[in-house]
């Protein structure tokens, strides 16, 4: 049994079937991305798995504990950092940490030690006794992440952990996610940021219209789309016409991207060979030449539209 298991979860609101038979399993120690367009059923699914909403049918398990029958025991095994920075703004950062610790039943001494440690890890030690009211969004998000770790849970649910944050905060949070994962924690990452999911996740699930459209590793998902293989080339000088590149046999389509050309075709390797020959023949200097397959974003778009 995996760390997290959703088994045929169904939830209806009035006439709308928000989640329709969602099934998946997250392995221990995995970073699992959960992607989907707005209204696809992501939040409802997460709420059912975390014991906040009761499913109309189906079961969810956290570390083998049935969430539907014993939600409190299941919740003790997880830490959650919701998207909205929902800490108490009238309490200090330390006060929020202590409250979270109390709610998770962390003993007083341990709670105090862990609060100091986490506030330090998330760069909030110097503001520990300031009210959260004056914190920036990035600081609040770091505090929320710290609060989610107060009980040292084996499983973490992170909802858009870097949304709307400055670059430094994003980097700090991503580094922490990787470090926590290296420490053996299972991480369930809900995000709209597909490139973030691509870089962080071992596997991703894409949900659309309440159903799981696909689950696999990012690279395997990308390989399912063949039509967007391409090579990106940049030459020195500005005099090169697009029409000359159209004569290349391996190229099916050309797009100009700034000072570069993206050359689409079924075999990017062959495109590269032809481009090199072409440059020699035309006496052009190649500044850069890269091949690229489809992005996870393209897979996402392919699966969630049309």
């Amino acid at each position: 049994m995996g760390s997290i298991e959703a088994n045929n979860l169904v939830k209806e609101f009035d006439d709308l079937r928000a989640v329709d038979g969602v099934t998946f399993e997250v392995n221990q120690g995995e970073i699992f991305g959960f992607l989907g367009p707005n209204g696809a059923g992501k939040t409802t699914t997460v709420r059912m798995i975390t014991g906040v909403l009761k499913p109309d049918s189906g079961r969810a398990y956290i570390d083998g504990v049935d969430v539907t029958t014993d939600p409190l025991r299941a919740k003790e095994r997880i830490g959650i950092a919701p998207e909205e920075a929902n800490c108490y703004i009238d309490l200090t950062a330390r006060g929020n940490m202590h409250l979270a610790g109390e709610l998770y039943g962390v003993p007083k001494k341990k709670r105090k030690e862990k609060s100091v440690e986490l506030l330090d890890q998330f760069g909030l030690a110097d503001r520990a006794d300031s009210k959260v009211k004056g914190f920036s969004k990035g600081m609040k998000q770091r505090l929320i992440l710290g609060m989610a770790l107060i009980n040292n849970p084996p499983i973490l649910f992170l909802d858009e952990p870097t949304a709307g944050l400055d670059v430094a905060s994003q980097r700090l949070i991503k580094e922490r996610i990787r470090k926590l994962n290296r420490q053996g924690k299972t991480i369930f990452l809900t995000t709209h940021n597909i490139s973030e999911a691509d870089k962080l996740c071992d596997r991703v699930a894409i949900i659309n219209k309440g159903q799981i459209a696909t689950i696999d590793s990012p690279e395997k998902l990308k390989s399912t789309i063949q039509s967007t293989q391409s090579a990106l080339v940049s030459f020195s000088g500005n005099g090169l016409g697009r029409d000359k590149l159209e004569d290349l046999g391996a190229v099916e389509e050309i797009e100009k991207e700034g000072d570069k050309y993206r050359l689409y075709g079924p075999d990017p390797g062959e495109i590269v060979e032809e481009v090199v020959d072409f440059a020699r023949k035309e006496n052009l200097k190649i500044i850069s030449l890269n091949t690229s397959g489809p992005s996870l974003e393209e897979v996402f778009t392919h699966l969630t539209t049309g």
Binding site: L53, R73, N86, A100, L103
Partner: protein, 246 residues
């Protein structure tokens, strides 16, 4: 799976409420100033025996302080999304509500006890049944706080919606609970309604505590019964409306 509510979790919630909410404006205005102004506005130009004064002011103080903040915690926390944090935590709805009641009760007990004993001292009255009075204040502050928490089950994040509903319940009850007009002087329908108001029993208990006449047991039993009823009703209502708040 049913779990017996854990007092420690509820105390954490109560502590949080006291730190965050009980220094806020509505408590001072609706919990302390309003009952005094309301009471003195009614008192001016009328002759009232000291016992009625103490009983009336005690009832007003505890009723308003208990129901000043308890109805608005849930909509506040819905709006600030902190309710979501609590719901994600390993704490049951019952533990959360008991915590809100205990927080409200602590404040109501402190303010009311000081008010009651101060007014009694000014009027030169000494309670003949001190422990009964103390028990009455404890029971009433729990019971009325539970009413406040029940009112907050309305699934809204707008505090003014709750304040409107709360006012609709709070003020009419004052007039049928023996604070300004003794219950025996009310018309027939008023007497019946007064029996359904827990405030009636508290006011009666205060009268007993200072005069020693009558029996306190019906009042104590009624306050205890109402407390249980409102706690269960709040629990049932919040469980039904909680998903709509998230």
């Amino acid at each position: 799976m049913y779990r017996i509510p854990r007092l420690g979790k509820s105390l954490s919630i109560a502590k949080k409420d006291l730190k965050i909410y009980y220094g806020k404006g509505p408590v001072v205005i609706f919990g302390i100033l309003l009952p005094f102004f309301f009471f003195f506005a009614f008192l001016v130009g009328r002759e009232m025996p000291p016992l009625s004064l103490v009983a009336g002011l005690s009832g007003m103080a505890i009723w308003f302080t208990s129901t000043s903040i308890s109805p608005v915690i849930a909509p506040w926390e819905t709006r600030t999304k902190t309710l979501e944090r609590l719901v994600f935590s390993p704490i049951s709805v019952t533990e959360m509500l008991i915590g809100d009641i205990l927080g409200s009760m602590t404040l109501a007990f402190s303010i009311s006890a000081v008010t009651i004993f101060a007014v009694a001292a000014i009027l030169g009255m000494i309670p003949v049944n001190f422990l009964t009075l103390l028990l009455g204040i404890v029971l009433a502050s729990f019971c009325f706080s539970a009413i406040g928490v029940l009112i907050s089950a309305l699934p809204t994040d707008t505090t003014s919606d709750i304040m409107m509903l709360s006012t609709l319940i709070k003020f009419p009850l004052i007039f049928v609970s023996g604070i300004f007009i003794p219950v025996e002087n009310l018309p027939g329908w008023g007497t019946i309604i007064s029996q359904l108001s827990p405030l009636t029993y508290f006011v009666d208990l205060v009268r007993f505590s200072f005069s020693g006449s009558g029996s306190p047991w019906i009042d104590i039993a009624a306050l205890f019964g109402f407390s249980l009823f409102f706690l269960l009703a709040a629990d049932f209502s919040h469980r039904r409306t909680l998903p709509k708040r998230l």
